[in-house]
Symmetry: C2
């Protein structure tokens, strides 16, 4: 009495926090990353590909006294019970790679890497658990030369990606200034409360963009209640200390030389602060000599770049134009990447300090910015579609598509039924700029019809009645078959 | 009495079965995939990126009555206890994507995807647990038009990748011929033993390349003992049946028309067989009309492409040249990819048959082939290295590198100590073709020295003594600094 078993049908869905990407968005990202990669290669950086998995201990993702990996990473146990995790950034794999191959690598070692990283975090709007990173690092390279190089390269990369000069500025600061500031504001020396206070100060300054000066002052002092009513505890600085911190942050001048002048003497009692000023001064001079003036790389004393990790110069690329949010309000895109100098790269593995300086492009932000800067719409991103009206003429249609391709035009033949309306609907769904049509009438005359689908769509918006539409049809014309390629190219040129 | 704790230092190593890739190999693969992608796009295929993770049930990787995923995939449980696995190919994610977006996709739907896949298998020499796949599929496209298109596109992709016409042939067969063959050889109709026998026959034929006709005959008959003494059970066909199978396999002729002629009547009692012959006949005619003759796409009745999955035409690209193995023996590289028509793409999800035809490039094999075909060595793949002899001239060195880059020459400044020998050693390790040298002497004269490191290395092999070497130095010359770019380009041109 076998009961008829229901076939199991899994639901087709992408796991939570992940996404599919198709067509134009992907092409645009690949084009952008390829241009940036070309700049990195021209500077002598070699591409590196590390595997998706690293041993969890190599990523530093075990908590003390816990035998399971820390949250935040996707982890599993290999056959031999060793924990492996998917990389959550490209720096940890670089550290492992450099430590593993330390003796055989040329030093300094310049590499760049582009690829997905994974975060086992709660997804949200625009927050995915897999995304692309694009990093370049110089390992074992001395300051300030490597820092100068990577700042210049970053500016070049922005321009290669399509952000015009004037639309971005690489803003430069030095962590040692911040350290010196805290030192001279009387905030260091008292272990261990101090470190917490230091972090609270940095975290407050990092929010200048979003909260403005008044908000930052609250966070440096007693604390701040946000719009939702949540209270964030402050750094409990005294007013005079807050004044000094804000004086520093606001000391940025229009030219790098003026900013360095303004800082002279500011850190007279802090060796770290002095070292930071000297570094910025030298870098600005070298960059200027190379033609990277304030229009491209400018000292900005409000740049923080997160909480720890960096030990010398830090920088980020800020976009100088606004775009519109989904409600049409002006919106600043802000930082599209940055980096700095850090010393601890391979220390966890080898116990030695190997200094490095690196830059990471904010891939999705930069892509958004490029999208926003586009003056022409890209709704017509699809291929030319050659309709297939007569099934026995398939080879002829394929031949037309082949001719178009040979001339550099993306083209495809409709493959399906012979229904005309359905084929045009398909061309529309493909965002095709042009449909190429040859029915038996055209074929008898040795002609093809070129239908400009973009112009057609524009015209049809303004057409009063069907009669006028049918009589006009200015978006459609016939040419000799031998003129197919030239006619298609001419119509495509209308779109620029 | 705190005991001094030893700092934990993880060992820097890549997990078993995974690997790092650096520099030239990666650049070559990227270049190859980008050329192939451009061909796919020109045919109207859109790029698709699916995430690394899929739900395990969507991949079909649960065994019946087992609540853990099947071996072969890397799996873990999400927060909500659902099992996710890393994709093991690009077809299963395509199936999920098409099923999930079925109504909104244009049909037919053409997409290509390039990316890593993961296999949780025992690694071996040349067998990695992460590798790159490159697939193109037409979903919902009718035969034979979509099959013709994808075969032509595959041939175009081979040539775009750098395999010259004549160095490859896309070999074409049809699964229905094999089905018809088994039918007319009296091998189908008896459930369920039959299916096993059918698979055993296909598996035997799939080994023709490796075992030759005699080995295949054993596997079709009683079975075969291999060199290690292991016995593989045979399909137990009678001699007359084996003869018929081998007659079929060997019926391939020089021209597609002749092969189709030869098959006329061969399957008179099998509708499947007849359908297969008609399909090949039509495809060959259409391909011929498009200019894809037997030099590019040839019917080959010995092509099997694995055991199941395919339901119509199958094809693979075979390389026609030999290369050398590590011991210098001639070696055929064989197939560098292939594909075919299959019907079950979204059946698991939607219960309907959506036919598809796809092709998958054998990325690492094709890369090996391109490497083997290279006539010139690529040992000089590194950037031009500008030596940095005087620390206070760093901006000038950076300027030289910038000039070279602006002229399209990959260039970097040495960043490190000022030791001359060490810098040359670095240039050597970087596989630099040229070192650009400007010490104070050259600087005073407004000159730079161009050192051709490739010619230098060649000459030094033939130099008798150091004196001759020092006096000759033909691989090194000085030019006016304004002629730097031209001189470097001239030396690079020597290498082609």
């Amino acid at each position: 009495m076998a009961k008829k078993q229901k076939t199991f049908r899994p639901k087709a869905r992408v796991p939570r926090g992940f996404r599919d990407r198709l067509g134009a968005e992907l092409t645009a990202e690949r084009e952008m990353l390829s241009r940036i990669s070309a700049v990195y290669e021209s500077y002598g950086f070699d591409p590196l590909e590390t595997p998706a998995f690293e041993f969890t201990d190599a990523l530093g993702k075990f908590l003390p006294d816990v035998d399971r990996p820390n949250a935040g990473v996707f982890s599993l146990q290999d056959d031999d019970d060793q924990w492996m995790s998917l990389r959550y950034d490209l720096t940890a794999p670089l550290a492992r790679f450099v430590a593993e191959n330390y003796d055989s690598l040329p030093k300094p070692f310049r590499r760049y890497q582009v690829g997905p990283v994974w975060r086992n975090e709660k997804p949200g709007p625009g927050r995915f658990r897999q995304f692309t990173q694009c990093d370049a690092d110089s390992v074992g390279a001395p300051a300030p030369d490597a820092d100068v190089e990577i700042c210049a390269m970053f500016a070049d990369a922005m321009e290669a990606a399509g952000i015009a000069r004037g639309d971005y500025v690489v803003k430069l600061n030095d962590r040692r200034l911040l350290a010196g500031l805290l030192e001279t504001a009387g905030l260091v020396g008292l272990e261990p409360d101090d470190e917490l206070q230091r972090v609270t100060v940095l975290r407050a300054l990092d929010k200048l963009d979003r909260l403005g000066e008044a908000g930052v002052r609250l966070l440096l002092g007693p604390g701040r209640k946000d719009e939702s009513g949540d209270f964030t505890d402050g750094a409990k600085l005294k007013d005079a200390q807050i004044d000094r911190v804000m004086t520093f942050i606001n000391a940025t001048q229009a030219t790098n030389a003026e900013t360095c002048d303004r800082l002279a003497g500011f850190f007279s009692t802090s060796a770290q602060g002095e070292a930071g000023v000297t570094a910025l001064d030298t870098m600005a001079a070298q960059l200027g000599a190379l033609g990277y003036g304030e229009d491209r790389i400018q000292i900005d004393l409000s740049i923080i770049r997160g909480l720890d990790y960096y030990t010398g110069p830090v920088f980020e690329a800020d976009l100088m134009f606004t775009t519109e949010d989904e409600k049409g309000r002006p919106m600043r895109l802000g930082s599209v990447g940055g980096g700095g100098r850090y010393d601890g790269l391979v220390k966890r593995f080898k116990g030695i300090e190997v200094p490095a300086v690196g830059v990471s492009v904010g891939v999705s932000r930069l892509l958004e910015a490029l999208e926003a800067k586009k003056t022409t719409g890209d709704s017509v991103s699809g291929p030319v579609v050659v309709l297939a009206l007569e099934k026995n003429q398939m080879a002829a249609y394929q031949q037309m598509a082949a001719e178009l391709r040979a001339a550099g035009v993306r083209a495809e033949v409709y493959l399906g039924g012979s229904n005309f309306a359905k084929q045009l609907k398909y061309a529309d769904k493909r965002a095709a700029p042009i449909a190429v049509i040859q029915g038996s009438d055209e074929r008898d005359k040795g002609e093809v019809t070129i239908k400009d689908l973009v112009l057609g769509a524009e015209l049809s918006k303004n057409i009063q009645d069907n009669k006028e539409w049918r009589e006009g049809q200015p978006a459609q014309f016939s040419v000799k078959q031998s003129e197919l390629v030239a006619a298609v190219k001419k119509v495509l040129a209308r779109r620029g």
